[in-house]
Amino acid sequence: MTADLSKAALEKGEVLVVERVGGGILELVARLPHLAATAMPGQFAQLRCGTGTTPLLRRPFSVAWTHDDTCGFVFEAVGAGTGILSELQPGDPVDSLGPLGNGFTLVEHGPAVCVSGGLGCAPFPLLINELRRRGVEDIVVLNGARTAARLYPAERFGRPAVSVVAEATDDGTRGYHGSVAALLTPALDSTPSALYACGPNPMLGAVMRTLVESGADLPQVLEASLEAPMGCGFGTCLGCALPMLDDGGGSVWKLCCTDGPVMPMRGVDWVGLSELPGADVA
């Protein structure tokens, strides 16, 4: 389904704080009343980084959470754009275009499993809050990262905190030593109604592989939030192509920004996705 852009709007907001939440992970909190009032879990905003012509393009960020008229965004300062955002001070202006993209399919009953890899944590606090608002309390978070310092703090996935947050690190510095996908098997025993995933492409591929190889019935809602180098964020530049399966099992390009970023995991061309360069390449 192509995203509904009718609620997307340009909005000039104000930075409340840029907080370091552990390791290199930063959280930008900004007063953006329109975005806070309209963003659904899984949707994103295109934020300008500075006011000049370099960096030129906006950067897409999942709306991590909303509270009254404020929004949170989770990121790391890895490039020119996020470097500028990392240095924002309270009171600085922030220029948002959103909400954009399709959100997660929201279930009415659990259990729900959220699988996060690294900064893939970003869409989950808003999702978990919305699921709880609908009465879904049986929520499990599987949280992985390369190393302990890059794990999004468990207590930030929900307020009040989600009771079950299982952690995994590639280097074994916290939790299970290995891929977060390895934590899936026990979570599947509860026959979840929904599984939501977000993280680097190799991790998402490992999640799908683990699910298929487990032989368990796959959750009815099985969705991943994907990413791609993005130009506009609203479907006109056609830059953010992702390989998806067509009805005949062939591969077709879909747009991350308006066909996604949330995609049905059954519909992803995982082989094609694994062959793409990493998101850092552009």
Binding site: G231, C237, V281
Partner: protein
């Protein structure tokens, strides 16, 4: 349609733009997304995504890469094909007042002619922009680089359409004025200049080109002085109206093109950054 004698920009063959500010091909799709975001009908023209005879899937990603003051793209003319545009898209333009000019592209002369024929009787279309300058498909630049081939292409399309033909020129040539003169002589009603500049970006950690095909088309504010020089040369070379495009970000940078002789402008990459840029240009120009 604009009444005869009303203010506007006359591009020829009855195509009168309500005002000179348009959205450049490849940056506005077929208008449906931006129609949800901005007051599209205040603008003069929408130049659609390059449209080919058959559907095109486009190039593998990454398709975009940011550069200093600009970006590279290698979309590869992803489009649904001219039949879908004529049958499914055009009816959705029926109530729009913005003039929809379909940009057509192809790898062969026959492909352009086919597209023009399919679109000839579609009432919602105001004109054709011939993309003889896409750097991201095989063959797309061949017409744009050679004045003789460009002239033959325009003459062939001219023979099958009564519509206004605007020919979009490539800046990736030694003498853009020669190509402009050739398409004017072959029957073009107007020219638009310029398409993107060929550029390359290296992923420094690997030493590989970021874009899978190596190069892409560069756009954005960094190219505005380059585009301006090309447009000035074209304006000096032809008598038909010139539509200036390349790196416009505000009214001032748009006015530069009018100053060197362009009759209208197109806003491109700046729309990605701020979808309201073209409207701001229009308001700033006070036209």
């Amino acid at each position: 349609m604009t009444e005869p004698g009303a203010a506007g920009v006359d591009l020829g063959r009855g195509l009168i733009l309500p005002n000179p500010v348009g959205l450049a091909s490849g940056t506005a799709g077929y208008g449906f997304e931006l129609a949800q975001l901005i007051e599209l009908d205040r603008l003069g023209a929408l130049y659609t995504k390059g449209t080919t005879a058959a559907p095109r899937e486009g190039n593998p990603p990454p398709r975009v890469a940011e550069t200093g003051g600009g970006m590279l793209n290698s979309i590869g003319l992803q489009n649904p094909g001219v039949d879908v545009v004529a049958r499914d898209y055009a009816p959705r333009w029926r109530d729009w007042t913005i003039r929809v000019i379909v940009n057509i592209a192809g790898g062969s002369l026959d492909e352009y002619v086919h597209c023009a024929r399919v679109l000839e009787d579609v009432a919602e279309i105001a004109g054709l922009e011939l993309n003889i300058s896409c750097p991201n498909i095989t063959g797309g630049l061949d017409f744009g680089r050679d004045p003789v081939a460009a002239g033959q292409l325009v003459a062939a399309v001219r023979a099958v359409t009564e519509r206004c033909i605007i020919v979009k020129l490539s800046p990736n040539v030694t003498d853009i004025a020669a190509v402009a003169r050739a398409v004017e002589e072959a029957g073009a009603d107007a020219v638009s200049a310029v398409n993107t500049f060929i550029g390359r970006k290296i992923h420094r950690a690997s030493g590989r080109s970021v874009l899978p095909l190596g190069t892409g088309g560069m756009s954005g504010p960094a190219i505005q002085p380059l585009a301006l020089a090309a447009v000035a040369a074209v304006c000096d070379a032809v008598h038909v109206p010139v539509v200036g495009v390349g790196g416009i970000v505000d009214a001032a940078s748009a006015k530069d093109f009018l100053t060197v002789g362009a009759r209208a402008v197109q806003v491109g990459t700046a729309t990605f950054v701020n979808p309201e840029t073209a409207l701001q240009v229009l308001d700033g120009l006070g036209v």
